[in-house]
Symmetry: C2
Subunit: 254 residues, 2 copies
């Protein structure tokens, strides 16, 4: 599946350096050689080195200080970056729980007006809607609703086929990429807290403590052409997992 064409030089450098961050050559906090030295060592131009270092800096793997040098970051990896899409399976198994998955209900229906607006489709067009649950050691951890417009799947899957419980993969973005040829480029999400008793479930689901805190992520997924492809609500129950985030200030300091 991968033609495996040669990766760009700058990315090769990124990989090499990242390797050296973990193999002890450049431990956290240490200073890297200067750009000129790196360029010389790897036989590339300084611009290429700069490109690699810029990428590492954007990822937070190194810190650059003008007039001083480039340093390996100390506080490197963060746990479950909220600004990246969550792989529920890894999320649950990484914390030592047993992963469980439940297909609750699927239907073809008309979208609610807000959803039609968000997906930029007519309110009287059809959408496919599916509800799923993910459990950790049998306990409800995540409840999701996914809605896609008809045009997204129509040419690839029949209405009959898509309604089958095992038709859509647990991770919906994989289903969209693999089965609908509509990979998602990015999501725009809103995040809010909620209480379990305010969540309405579709499908047969074990009851949860009505006072459980819930993190609700409501988002629209767009393809590379910025066309809305997916409306999704994720409800994450309780505190059994936490999400992290790097925040920066873009505000000018008075």
């Amino acid at each position: 599946m991968k033609p495996r064409r040669q990766a760009p030089l700058s990315e090769q450098i990124v990989d090499i350096l990242q390797g050296h961050f973990t193999d002890g050559t450049y431990p956290p906090g240490s200073q890297l050689p200067s750009e000129a030295e790196l360029a010389d060592a790897y036989g590339v131009s300084r611009a290429t080195i700069r490109s690699a270092l810029a990428q590492l800096a954007a990822d937070g793997a190194v810190k650059r200080r003008h007039g001083v040098g480039t340093f390996v970051s100390k506080s490197t990896q963060i746990a479950n970056p909220l600004n990246e899409v969550i792989d529920y399976h890894d999320l649950i198994t990484d914390q030592g729980f047993e992963f469980g998955f439940q297909h609750l209900e699927a239907e073809i229906t008309q979208p609610a007006p807000e959803i039609a607006t968000a997906l930029k489709i007519d309110a009287d067009s059809s959408v496919f809607e599916v509800h799923k649950a993910f459990t950790a050691d049998g306990e409800l951890l995540i409840y999701t609703t996914n809605v896609i417009p008809e045009w997204v799947y129509k040419e690839h899957i029949s209405d009959e086929e898509i309604l089958k419980p095992d038709s859509t993969e647990p991770l919906f973005f994989e289903f969209l990429a693999n089965r609908c040829q509509q990979p998602i480029d990015y999501y725009i999400a809103t995040v809010r807290p909620e209480i379990a008793q305010n969540i309405t479930f579709v499908g047969d689901i074990a009851p949860v403590d009505p006072l459980l805190p819930v993190l609700v992520i409501e988002e629209v997924g767009y393809n590379a052409q910025e066309k809305p492809v997916l409306y999704e609500v994720e409800c994450l129950f309780g505190h059994r997992m936490t999400f992290e985030l790097v925040r920066r200030l873009r505000i000018a300091i008075r």
Copy 2:
């Protein structure tokens, strides 16, 4: 205070182009001139144009498609990006509410063990701790706790001075930058949902509905040397404001 030295060319280009996105020259969805044309038009090298466009692409202002062109993003600005630090004042007034601020309590004390660990200080060293509340139309919207180690303020402000209610500015990162010469470079935050009844308040505060959902952001602020400078908890009550976030998938699709 600003020597106002000339901004880099690439940033000037960024500003110019951003202006054209809103003045109708390049409306959302439209295609920009090619890199070569832009370089020619502004009398700079193609590398400079590329640098500007890369910055715009990173901000989400444009979309680049290899072999096709550069396009102005349609779904551009998002409301209250959760991955940027919040200016409470703007947050509240932007939504038409009246901004209110309350200094609740300040003290010099010993840190809890988790906090000492997070700040990388000894558990028996001193910290300054302050609690504040922000209201919208008089209703509690945000409750914050800020903790800084002694070394951060010691050389700039006396213990006596810092305990005065109007000593620290409402926005704590401004206080750190302006009064302590310790600007914060970035925060590492954990986000979780909570219920108001589980929040313990310090200081005199009007009671809130115990079942109100709360978004809790617990974070450590680091300076440019990656040294922890600030421990902070922000509790955001209810749904009167929402936070948005761009999410991407870095997971390989199977």
